[in-house]
């Protein structure tokens, strides 16, 4: 809360800069519109203007600058336009009762969310499993850990189409599952690394203590390693869910997905409707914010219940 004022100020500054950038970014489009409606524009002809700098265009056509703030297909929309589009494709549609139609970002957000959650679950599960194995068996540690790192250097985008085909071959239709797999692929790594650290966080004397009780491996795990790793777990889950969302969106971008926020971005690109891209981008940002915040709240509640400050 202490940070509220500075954050708002910084946001305001960003919005201001953004707003100022709209004019130069969109001046060409604005002049095209002006020219089509019969106004005089210097110089004439869309393509002749390609060679003129935006600053000169703005200086020469001051009367038309305002058009840059209301283009249908702006290179850079104003914050207001983005908000308007976002509202039109979420809230407004929900009010009309169309919240779940395929034109609504709520629907597409839900598709993305679903894949993200599945990927997150799968990735977290794999990450936890790997971490437990790594902590308990040296062979696994030595064999797996380097490959876990290497796995993250593989451009997952390249695998996306193949994952789709492979999973359809084993009888899984649709793109939900492949997307979840990609998102799990990006998600498992932070969980694995975080949990290896977490499960190893008990120091020697804490482990020795249990040894003096002659505790079994399982007791060491359940009574010491697991609770000790909880703070690490949450930290990695927060990174993990963000990674899972990136995974889903990357999975939607080049795989020709037809629904989901990534698909909206892609289709916005194909149809030349930048507003749709921006709205989908912001929807994705909001989704990420919600997910991370939810985990944050869960973390606070859990840790407080466990008595950790």
């Amino acid at each position: 809360m202490r940070n509220l004022v500075p954050v708002l100020v910084v946001l305001a500054v960003i919005a201001g800069l953004w707003y100022a950038a709209v004019a130069p970014m969109n001046i060409r489009g604005a002049l095209m519109v002006a020219e089509r409606s019969g106004e005089t524009v210097v110089p004439e002809g869309t393509s002749t203007r390609f060679d003129v700098s935006v600053w000169k265009l703005m200086a020469d056509n001051p009367d038309h600058i305002h058009l840059a703030y209301g283009l249908d297909r702006p290179r850079l929309p104003t914050p207001g336009q983005v908000a308007g589009e976002l509202w039109a494709s979420t809230g407004a549609m929900a009010l009309e009762g169309n919240g779940f139609s395929n034109r609504s970002l709520i629907y597409h957000g839900w598709i993305t969310l679903r894949s993200t959650l599945w990927g997150f679950l799968l990735g977290t599960f794999l990450g936890l499993l790997g971490a437990v194995a790594i902590v308990h068996a040296r062979v696994v540690d030595m064999s797996l850990m380097p490959w876990a790192i290497i796995s993250q250097t593989i451009p997952i985008v390249a695998l996306a189409p193949m994952i789709i085909v492979l999973s359809s071959q084993v009888g899984i239709d649709g793109r939900g599952v492949p997307k979840a797999i990609i998102s799990a692929y990006l998600c498992y790594f932070p969980v694995l690394v975080g949990m290896v650290t977490g499960l190893r966080s008990p120091d020697r004397s804490q482990l020795d203590l249990l040894k003096t009780y002659n505790a079994s491996q399982w007791q060491v795990f359940s009574k010491l390693r697991m609770p000790a790793s909880l703070p690490y777990l949450f930290a990695s889950l927060k990174i993990g869910i963000a990674a899972a969302l990136v995974g889903t969106i990357v999975g939607e971008l080049p795989t020709g997905a037809i629904s989901g926020l990534g698909a909206r971005i892609l289709i916005g690109d194909q149809f030349g409707t930048p507003l749709a891209i921006w709205a989908a981008l912001f929807a994705a940002a909001i989704l990420a914010g919600i997910l991370v915040t939810l985990l944050d709240v869960t973390q606070r509640l859990t840790l407080r219940r466990m008595g950790v400050r």
Partner: protein, 313 residues
């Protein structure tokens, strides 16, 4: 009812109106078929989908299908609803392009993903280098499936389909007299677009062949219905669009343009068209872009269309 899965080459749009109409109007049902239509998109290769058993039949361009065939995937053309193609290169006059001679030194946007073969064939014919190293060659830009490069002044020419991207260029505010179009078909480099392809080995099964006969018959019925009722067909397409991004207005435009391409076809492949496609491809075999290197065999069959359409004729 027999199940059939159709993988389209692109997203749901009037380009595939015939199939959506056939499904919507119950033509498939009449033939005892339960058809699932899978929309495609960039980086969905129908050839790969069918290889992975994800579909029974696909629509694709003949060049891509022949290329896949040479790589060991036994694709066979069973029908060709598109008589002519809509692919063209759209250039800005202001870039100084009037004719083919003006290309050297220019930047041209090309679609890849199996759509590049006609372009390379054409350039080979013109003797223009495409590797970007040659002064007198052209710079090839792998164009995403949009028209931004032209609008942003990043390319002098871009690929468009008459029924889609060309409309987008006009919509964006560039007028027709600022543009020059090179239609591949008119240049003699046309290649068959959007045919129906199945796997050779599937076709050996008479039951499957029979299914395809009925499928092609119903699909063509859908196409003809769409040609006659463009507005309704466009509406059907929009209703089937899961992206929620298609507009009726644009689909009506597209339907009108697509109808011009399907008009001449009853569904059967004209062997002469096939020969021309193969000849064009073979005329332009190059290191970089070998679509095919030798004359394909058994790449099409007219058996299905003969049986499907024979009755009507």
């Amino acid at each position: 009812q027999d199940e059939v899965t159709l993988q389209l080459k692109w997203v749901t749009q009037a380009q595939f109106a015939g199939y959506y109409v056939a499904q919507d109007q119950g033509f498939y049902e009449e033939e005892g078929l339960d058809v699932t239509i899978l929309p495609g998109g960039p980086d969905i290769a129908p050839e790969q989908v069918i290889a992975g058993d994800g579909a029974d039949v696909i629509t694709t361009w003949m060049a891509a299908a022949l290329a896949a065939r040479e790589r060991g995937l036994g694709l066979v053309n069973i029908a060709q609803p598109f008589k002519t193609g809509g692919l063209q290169l759209t250039c800005l006059k202001s870039s100084g392009i009037e004719t083919e001679e003006d290309f050297p030194g220019k930047t041209l946007g090309v679609w890849f993903y199996g759509n590049e073969y006609p372009f390379y064939a054409w350039m080979a014919q013109l003797g223009i280098a495409t590797d970007g190293a040659d002064e007198d060659g052209v710079d090839v830009l792998r164009q995403a499936f949009n028209v931004n490069p032209l609008l942003e002044g990043q390319a002098d020419c871009i690929s468009t389909m008459t029924y889609n991207e060309y409309g987008q260029v006009l919509d964006a505010g560039i007028s027709e007299d600022e543009l020059v179009n090179f239609n591949y078909l008119e240049m003699g480099n046309g290649m068959l677009e959007d045919g129906l392809y199945v796997l050779e080995e599937d076709l050996e099964d008479p039951e499957f062949a029979d299914k395809m006969v009925r499928f092609v018959r119903a699909s063509m019925k859908g196409w003809k219905w769409a040609e006659e009722n463009p507005e309704e067909a466009a509406q059907i397409v929009v209703d089937n669009d899961q992206t929620g991004a298609q507009t009726l207005e644009h689909q009506i435009y597209m339907m009108g343009e697509v109808a011009k391409l399907t008009e001449g076809s009853e569904g059967a492949l004209d062997p002469a068209d096939y020969e021309q496609t193969v000849a064009t491809l073979l005329s332009a075999v190059s290191e970089d872009n070998p679509a095919i290197t030798e004359e394909p065999e058994g790449a099409y069959t007219t058996d299905i269309t003969d049986e499907a359409l024979g009755g009507d004729m």
